[in-house]
Each structure stands twice: as structure tokens, then as C-alpha cells.
């Protein structure tokens, strides 16, 4: 009984219930939604968001925010795609190193501005969101890199793999998720990220190197944004200076917040964020299936996020209240 109650009081349970209810409702109208094919579509919608969300989660847990990830994704994708176009002789898998490296560098710039000059992350990354997007236009001369330049080996990673024919990028996203889990829950520095976000004043008093930890989370966020950049090239086969990564930060932050990460820092779980991403994936997949016009999709998508937060909040408040009542009676 006690264990059961604890499970239901956990944030993750609420999101899981919402996912199940949502899928059942959509499935009642369109039975096709509950097929394996559809699951595949949902899964293919999520790996980029999942990877971005892992980095963003660490940043937000450390009581910061990274608004620039969409632009970092775009910039890293563009640099990598241009390398493919102008130096086709370079082995395609080195693209991963280039994309991640570019992301780390951009994340380092964010972190350095924030820690050295003690600027608020929301302002710095709002600035670099525009800066990095602008740089993407400059280096690409505002031109898209088309399908024929993206190596087909890279593109095929989004189509298949030897394991149940599930595309490689899904495994990569799951791998990043597991690594983030290990880092956040089982490494000393990972716990320091939580401590820092939970009480930034106390952190240095306990020997936590605040500057280093902050810099690190922004570099991780950049690295993962870079990784998601080359995965964008793999998934869609092209890189476009205005579209690639545009609005990515919105999806990612929405997933992280739905996943129960406190915007005040210190609180969050990898499982919760994973479920948050899945809920968004289900919604994205359901909208076209339900015949909702592209023009209104964005509005509905936004509404779903707000509704999810409201449901979650009221469920949790009631849970806390009933727990308090139980305690008072005891």
C-alpha cells in the first residue's frame, strides 16, 4: 500500500497515465494509432527531442536555461553538411565528431559568458540563439545543403538497423538517455548539478566548483545539440539555414517541463523527461492522423502542453493534500 502510494505520488506516474489515456482516446477514434507502424512513427519523431532534452534537463536542474539549442543544432548541422559537400573525401562518421565538437564550442561560449560575467542564462542564450542562427546564414550563404551531399550511409541510419529494423538514431537517443541517467544519478559531479540547482548559495560552501559545473552543463547541452544536428541531417537528408533546429528549444523545454523538471532547479528525473518527450511524440503523431490541418497543429500542440501541466499540477496537489491528511490523522 505504501509502495503503491509512493509510486503514484511520483511525478512520472502522472505522465505515464496521461500518455496511456491520450493513446487510448486517439485509438478509440482512429484504431490505427495503436499499431506497431504508428509506434514506429512516434519513435522516429522523438530521438532529436530526446537528446536535446537530456542536455536541457541538466541545464535546468542546475537552475539555468539554454534557449540557444535550436540554433546550436542548426549551426552544427550546417558545418557538418558543408563539410560533406565540400570535402566528400572525409569519412562520413567523422561528421559526428565535427558536429559534437562544434556544439561543445558553442556551449562553452554560452557557459563562459554566463559564469565569467555573471550574466543570467536566459539573456545570454537568448542572445546566442540569434547569434548562432545568424552565423548559420553567414557560413551557408543562406543556402540549403541538399540531399545529394548528405552521405547515404548517414541517411540510412534513420531508416533501419539489424535489430528489429528499428533505426539506429533511436538506439542512439536511448543510449544518450541511459548515459545521462548514469551521469545524473550515479556520478559525483552529476549529483553536484542537482545540489547546485537546489541551493546555489550553499554549493560553494560545500566545495562544489560552481563555475566548472555550470560551464560543464552548458557544454553538455551544446554537445547534445550538436549531436542532434547531425541526426537532423540523417533524419531529413538536408540542412536548411532557417528550418534546421528552428523552434527546437521550444519542444525541448516543453518536454523537460512536462517531464517534471522544476524550473527552479534541483528537481528532475531522466525517466520523467523521457516520458515527457514520449507524450509530445504521441501528440505530434496523433494530430495529422486525426486530420487536424497543419495550420492549427501548432496551436493544438501548445494547448496540449498547457493542459498536461494543469492536469499534472492538480493531480499532484491533490496527492500532496491527501498525504498530509493521512499524516494528520496518524
Amino acid at each position: 500500500m505504501n509502495i503503491l502510494r509512493n509510486v503514484f505520488l511520483r511525478r512520472e506516474a502522472g505522465i505515464a497515465v496521461m500518455i496511456v489515456l491520450f493513446c487510448l482516446c486517439v485509438g478509440a477514434v482512429k484504431p490505427r494509432f495503436l499499431t506497431l507502424d504508428e509506434l514506429r512513427i512516434i519513435l522516429l519523431l522523438t530521438p532529436l527531442i530526446l537528446i536535446g532534452a537530456m542536455g536541457q534537463m541538466l541545464v535546468i536542474v542546475a537552475r539555468n536555461v539554454d534557449l540557444s539549442i535550436g540554433s546550436m543544432q542548426g549551426f552544427a548541422a550546417m558545418v557538418t553538411a558543408m563539410m560533406f559537400k565540400f570535402h566528400p573525401e572525409i569519412p562520413w562518421f567523422l561528421g559526428f565528431i565535427v558536429a559534437i565538437g562544434v556544439g561543445v564550442a558553442l556551449g562553452f561560449v554560452n557557459g563562459a559568458l554566463i559564469t565569467l560575467f555573471r550574466l543570467p542564462a536566459i539573456i545570454v542564450t537568448l542572445g546566442t540563439l540569434n547569434l548562432y542562427r545568424g552565423l548559420t546564414f553567414i557560413i551557408s550563404d543562406a543556402k540549403q545543403i541538399d540531399r545529394q551531399y548528405v552521405p547515404s550511409a548517414l541517411k540510412s541510419m534513420s531508416n533501419t538497423s539489424p535489430i528489429f529494423d528499428i533505426p539506429w538514431i533511436i538506439f542512439m537517443a536511448l543510449g544518450v538517455t541511459l548515459l545521462t541517467y548514469a551521469f545524473a544519478n550515479h556520478s559525483r559531479v552529476g549529483r553536484q548539478v542537482f545540489a547546485l540547482g537546489s541551493n546555489p548559495t550553499a554549493a560553494p560552501l560545500r566545495g562544489i566548483r560552481v563555475t566548472a559545473v555550470t560551464l560543464m552543463v552548458f557544454m553538455i547541452s551544446g554537445a547534445l545539440a550538436g549531436l542532434s544536428g547531425i541526426m537532423y541531417a540523417s533524419r531529413w537528408g538536408f540542412v536548411n539555414p532557417s528550418n534546421t533546429g528552428f523552434g527546437f528549444e521550444f519542444q525541448v523545454i516543453a518536454a523537460v517541463v512536462i517531464g517534471g523538471v522544476s524550473i527552479n532547479g534541483g528537481v528532475g528525473s531522466v525517466l520523467g523527461v523521457f516520458l515527457g518527450v514520449m507524450l509530445l511524440g504521441c501528440v505530434s503523431a496523433a494530430l495529422p492522423l486525426l486530420g487536424i490541418a497543419g495550420a492549427s497543429q501548432s496551436a493544438i500542440y501548445g494547448a496540449v502542453i498547457v493542459i498536461a501541466l494543469l492536469i499534472d499540477r492538480s493531480v499532484r496537489l491533490r496527492g500532496v493534500a491527501s498525504l498530509a491528511a493521512l499524516r494528520a490523522r496518524a
Partner: protein, 511 residues
């Protein structure tokens, strides 16, 4: 780990020589020579700003001295950071325990101890086991896998003490640990402190409460204006001596009630009930009268005040203000009706920390500074200046964020805020908590003057001497009910305490 026995028996654990500290050119500590012996509980006393906390922070590595030397067991030592202090076996327990509220108790115990590489694994199982062991050792029941957030302040302090033991600290500094504790929790804390002393550890105890210092400490050092005034065995000093040394002048009878003419009933409460919190509260306060509301923490006193003021309204009951029956559902209404409420928790419910002092003072009287919706800066400034002068608030500038002021001066500013609304009824909830004794005396004078000026005052306080000295009547609450209504002549500490202690089947009284 070094042993506690090293050094000759009479070598002090810490020997401070000529310690001085300046912040931005202002000297806050001057030439402190102080020895802390092994196995003693040593009190640091002084008004706020006297330098005792700064001195403690220097020993704990939070601040570095501008001049002077420290020796540990006779050997010179540098303490550049709290981490080094901890390695040397020195732990500072802050007044409001500094913890990570979202992390578990067990994690809070070990976090930041600089053992192992950053990417090393967190040994969850061992950590939890060790934490449980420490809690057992202290004899406290704290679930170590629960987050810190849910813990009472007393339990949070226990965790801090456990943390000190985890690193086998030889010196544990407690900065005003008892201010937020109930009497029972204070006793537990003292028992543990005595046990640690008997193990040969040194405890430094910073407090404002003389009776606690007397009950617990072996020696006392008194600070005034950044200098050490005297160190002595506690038995050699009377309370009057200590107060004189602290404030630099003999304290006149600082607790007295001015004779005020008691008039009409200003506040009348009948049958006020909020199920599960308090029930059937009947009380009245007349103009010129100071009515005390005593009881243990958690008896529901603050809840009654909050209900009257409309913060968390009662479910049933009648409130009459100046003869008019009213229903108050929000504080704005209460203010319009001439009520004022100085809340207990200054930091979270009282001040607007980052706003200037002047805005804090005028915050409850928008009608005065902005009669037509636009704030008149000149009026605001005049009103604030007046208040600062009248209440003798010590500050650098009216534009200073209020958070930079000392606790006593913050509290004065809050009182000033409410006086600007010209209230007929003032509810003060623990107005002198955490305020040093000099400012306290001023506060008592002010409360007396306010009553003499024809205001009705309901004073909630856990300090019995305060209730006895200031109040015309003392009401006592226990477990959500009024259990006594004691006139001034009959009020004693025993009478109040016996009504405050919960017991079953007692009749509620009408007050």
C-alpha cells in the same frame, strides 16, 4: 585523521591572535585574541553586528582575516575555505541550516566532501547505511532517504550536526541554533551538545538568549562593536554583568508597561474556528491594552492571527472591529478596517528583500503615497524619512535594499510600514525573535508607546519574560484552544506554561 589527543592537555584547540577583518574598508573585527579549549562549550555573545558571527566564519574558513593568526593545537594554520576547515575538523552550522532541499538527507550528509574523482560513482547503499548509523548515534528519528525539504528546522540542524560528526569534527560552531526551535527541541539539542563536549569536542554556541547560555555553556566571550570585551567562566558573571558588557551601558529596567488608559473594545473575536487548526477562539482587545498570546509553537496562535487578518480565513466565527461586525476574507480588507499584522517569519512573509527600505516602509499605505494612482516620490521619501527617525532605524540610505539591514532594523521597518496605515489594532507575531537585546529594549518601548497612544495590541510571543513584562493580560493557547486568560497581577511563568502544555479533556476558556 588526526587524533583528538594530540598536543598537551592545556594547549587550546584554537588560539586566535589579533584577528581583524574589514569589509570594503570598514573594520568589523578588531584584534581578537581568543582561545577555545578542548571539551568546552563556549558561548559567543554580543549584539547583532558585534562581530561574533564574523569571527565564527573566520574560524570556519568562510571569511579570511585581514590580519591576525590562528593556531590549531598549537600549530599555526591557514583556513582559506570551508572545505579546508572541514578537513581540519571544524564545522560551522548556520542559523538557517544551509542544505540542498531537493536532495535526500543522506546525500546532504556527504555531498561536497572532496573524496573521489568527479566522475566517481556515488555509493548510494553505503551512503544510506552510514547516514542511518549517524542518526542512530545522535538518537534522532530522521528518514535519511527523504528529501531535506520536508524536515523541520530542528531536524535540519540535527542533519548538520550529523554532518559534523561524519567528518569527525573537533570544533562545532552553532550560530544561533535555538532561535527557530521549540523548548523540547532545544533540550534535545543541548543534550547532544553536552554529549559531544564530554567526548572531548569543542562547541561554540552563538545565541541571544542568556538563560540558554547559562544552561549550556562553560565559558562565555562577549563581543561589542567588533572587539572582544571579556572572556570568563559563566558562573562568574551575572545576567546584569553580561548585558552591561554587551551593550556597553547598564540596562535600565527595559521591560515595563507604560500606564495606558484602557478604553473601548477594539477587536472582538467570538467562536472563531478553523477545523483541525483551532476552534472556538473567543477574545477581545481594548484600546490601550496589550494582550499577550502565549503557548507552545504549533498551538495555533499564528493561525488565529492569520485568520483574523484574512490571510487564511476561519471557517466560522464572528469578528467585531471597533463595534462593527466584519467578515474579512483578504488582508487588503483588514488593512482598510484598521488592522495591522507584523508576521512571524520576517524573511519570507515580511520584507520585500530586494526593494529599497523606503518602498518597504510605504508598501502597506498606497493611499498615502499615491492618492490618485501615481506614486508621489517626494511624499514617499518624507514618510519614510519620518519613520526612520521615529523608530531609530539604522541604515546607510533609504534606497538601500532592505535585505542588507540587520534583523532588528528590518523588523523596525516592518513596524514602520504598519504604523503608516494608522491601525487601531496591531497584531504582532513574535516581533522580537532573533533581534539583539539593545534593539529589543527599543521595541518594548515602542510597543508600550503604541498602546499608550490608544492602539489595541495583540502580542504573540514565545518568550515568557516578554509577555509578563509587557502585557495587561496573557491568553494562552494549547492545541488550537484557548486554555487560560491570566490578568497581569496573576501572570507568572508557571501559570502560562501549565496552560500551554497540552493535556486532554480541558475546558476552553472565554477571554
Amino acid at each position: 585523521m588526526t587524533t583528538m589527543a594530540e598536543g598537551a592537555k592545556d594547549t587550546p584547540l584554537i588560539a586566535a591572535r589579533g584577528i581583524s577583518k574589514s569589509f570594503a574598508g570598514i573594520e568589523v573585527l578588531r584584534d581578537i585574541d581568543l582561545d577555545l579549549a578542548r571539551g568546552e562549550i563556549h558561548a559567543l555573545l554580543g549584539e547583532n553586528g558585534a562581530g561574533k558571527s564574523t569571527f565564527a566564519k573566520i574560524i570556519a574558513g568562510v571569511h579570511r582575516p585581514t590580519r591576525g593568526t590562528l593556531a590549531l593545537n598549537g600549530a599555526p594554520v591557514e583556513i582559506p575555505s570551508p572545505i579546508v576547515a572541514q578537513k581540519l575538523g571544524i564545522t560551522l552550522i548556520h542559523q538557517e541550516p544551509i542544505s540542498f532541499p531537493d536532495l535526500s538527507v543522506a546525500e546532504n550528509l556527504v555531498l561536497g566532501r572532496s573524496d573521489g574523482s568527479p566522475l566517481g560513482r556515488v555509493p548510494w547503499a553505503k551512503m544510506t547505511r552510514d547516514a542511518k548509523g549517524l542518526m542512530d548515534l545522535l538518537g534522532v528519528k530522521i528518514d535519511v532517504v527523504k528529501p531535506m525539504r520536508g524536515l523541520s528546522i530542528a531536524d535540519q540542524q540535527m542533519v548538520e550536526i550529523a554532518r559534523a560528526l561524519a567528518s569527525d569534527s573537533r570544533l562545532i560552531i552553532m550560530d544561533e541554533p535555538t532561535a527557530p526551535l521549540t523548548p523540547k527541541e532545544v533540550e534535545t539539542l543541548f543534550d547532544i551538545a553536552r554529549r559531544l563536549r564530554d567526548e572531548g569536542r569543542t562547541i561554540v554556541f552563538i545565541s541571544h538568549r542568556l538563560e540558554e547560555v547559562r544552561a549550556l555553556c562553560d565559558r562565555v566571550t562577549i563581543f561589542r562593536d567588533g572587539a572582544k570585551v571579556q572572556t570568563d567562566t559563566i558562573g562568574n558573571l551575572t545576567d546584569a554583568d553580561i548585558i552591561r558588557l554587551m551593550i556597553g551601558r547598564p540596562l535600565r529596567e527595559y521591560m515595563k508597561k507604560l500606564g495606558a488608559a484602557i478604553g473601548e473594545v477594539a477587536l472582538k473575536v467570538e467562536g472563531l474556528t478553523l477545523p483541525g487548526v483551532f476552534s472556538d477562539i473567543n477574545l477581545e482587545v481594548r484600546t490601550g491594552e496589550i494582550v499577550g498570546l502565549g503557548g507552545l509553537v504549533g498551538a495555533g496562535r499564528t493561525d488565529v492571527a492569520r485568520a483574523i487578518f484574512g490571510v487564511a480565513p476561519a471557517a466560522s466565527g464572528k469578528v467585531t472591529i471597533n463595534g462593527k461586525a466584519v467578515v474579512i476574507t483578504e488582508p487588503a480588507q483588514a488593512i482598510d478596517l484598521g488592522l495591522a499584522f507584523v508576521p512571524e517569519d520576517r524573511a519570507t512573509a515580511g520584507i520585500f528583500r530586494s526593494l529599497p527600505v523606503e518602498q518597504n516602509i510605504t508598501a502597506a499605505a498606497p493611499g498615502k503615497i499615491a492618492p490618485n494612482g501615481f506614486i508621489r516620490r517626494a511624499v514617499e521619501r518624507t514618510l519614510a524619512t519620518d519613520s526612520v527617525r521615529k523608530l531609530r532605524i539604522r541604515l546607510a540610505s533609504l534606497r538601500q535594499p532592505i535585505g542588507e539591514l540587520s534583523g532588528g532594523n528590518q523588523q523596525k521597518a516592518i513596524l514602520a510600514r504598519w504604523l503608516l496605515t494608522d491601525p487601531s489594532v496591531l497584531i504582532l507575531d513574535e516581533p522580537t525573535r532573533g533581534i539583539d537585546i539593545g534593539v529589543k529594549a527599543e521595541f518594548y518601548d515602542m510597543i508600550g508607546e503604541l498602546a499608550a497612544g490608544g492602539r489595541a495590541i495583540l502580542l504573540i510571543s514565545s518568550e515568557l519574560p516578554e509577555l509578563l513584562a509587557l502585557c495587561d493580560r496573557v491568553l494562552v493557547m494549547s492545541e488550537g484552544r484557548l486554555t487560560a486568560n491570566i490578568p497581569r497581577a496573576e501572570a507568572t511563568q508557571e501559570a502560562i506554561m501549565s496552560a500551554a502544555v497540552p493535556r486532554s479533556g480541558r475546558e476552553a476558556v472565554a477571554a
